[in-house]
Symmetry: C2
Subunit: 211 residues, 2 copies
């Protein structure tokens, strides 16, 4: 089974803080993500900085695009992003519009999806989804469980590359054993640690144990 | 019936271009919005610039927040925003989290809402929604009609302040005659004109004709 990617979500409030963490942990990960919070704070420049720092890595732009798909995709692409997120409640027209500019469109699953819609996304050429435990849901006490795994597996069966995110830490990785996850996205479990590089390495070692 | 507000949506790719338009048309409108495209491009600075240019106007931050509600709301508030959008597919936990920081939270209606959910939003303290013809839907040929008006009226009956947006121009304002719309949001019908100030004035005159 292919080893899942490790993606670092940079959701700092300043580009300086994100660059500090990326400088330390970036070399260890497979995908560097400019998170929504950072992008809203620092703008497109945050993507360009990561692109220049890591010319050989995959760069993800977490715009959670809801409208004006081609414009947002063009801006992300111009800044150097390979991947860009759209929100599940965006229209099919918006998703198509984004896809016309950037093939690496990922639908981020919040509360608006269902299996029929997922099949429609597949039909228009969407290849990736992000299954998401919301930060606020986690704060409200929800945890990863069988229900989540079944959904992840369902999307994989439909042919999607599935990234998972939301409250992941080194201990939760093994819950996904045997599941061909495309990417584990970790935020504060790496960025919030005293040693972000060591934290990223611990994730990679744990992933290699099971895949 | 109270005169609806006129809101200008600044969705330029650069802060310079947005500032040029705001300098011309801003004094005429009631609410200045930093649109999602601009905010993703220029970051929080776009909000600060509009706040400083228009200290007495309402400033809206169109983050379409989907997660990390309190963080995104705090950042918008710190930059000077009075209003901030959340996406309809955000969880109730995210909406509550955003509301805990900024009372001017507006739910932007894409494809994830229903009337039961709307009542839940009301219950947790959300006072505003934005009814939205998607730009991509408009490009796909959809237009404002009775279906849209009925939804707008439904939200008003539930007690929400309702902003409407998406492909509005001076000629579509009269479609809403008799409906206590809270705000008309215009983008390119103002920002894309040779004379944005005159375009904004034409909107205000048309609104005054019917309210």
């Amino acid at each position: 089974m292919t080893k899942p990617n490790l993606q670092i979500a940079l959701d700092q409030n300043t580009l300086a803080d994100a660059a500090r963490i990326a400088h330390l942990a970036g070399p260890v990960v497979d995908i560097v993500e400019v998170g929504t919070i950072l992008e809203l704070q620092a703008g497109q420049q945050a993507i360009s900085v990561m692109r220049e720092m890591f010319p050989d890595k995959i760069i993800a732009s977490d715009t959670k695009c809801a409208d004006a798909g081609s414009t947002v995709a063009q801006n992300s692409k111009d800044a150097g992003a390979d991947l860009m997120t759209v929100i599940d409640s965006a229209t099919i027209a918006t998703m198509k519009s984004a896809l016309s500019v950037l093939s690496g469109i990922q639908v981020e699953l919040y509360s608006a999806w269902n299996w029929d819609l997922a099949k429609e996304w597949k039909k228009i050429g969407i290849e990736q989804v992000i299954y998401h435990q919301s930060r606020d849901a986690l704060l409200a006490g929800e945890v990863w469980g069988k229900k989540d795994l079944d959904i992840v597996k369902g999307f994989i069966e439909l042919g999607f590359k599935v990234s998972v995110t939301g409250g992941l830490n080194v201990d939760t990785i093994k819950l996904f054993e045997g599941v061909p996850v495309y990417t584990f996205i970790a935020g504060r479990a790496i960025t919030g640690q005293d040693n972000p590089k060591a934290a990223a390495e611990a994730f990679q070692e744990e992933i290699k144990k099971y895949w």
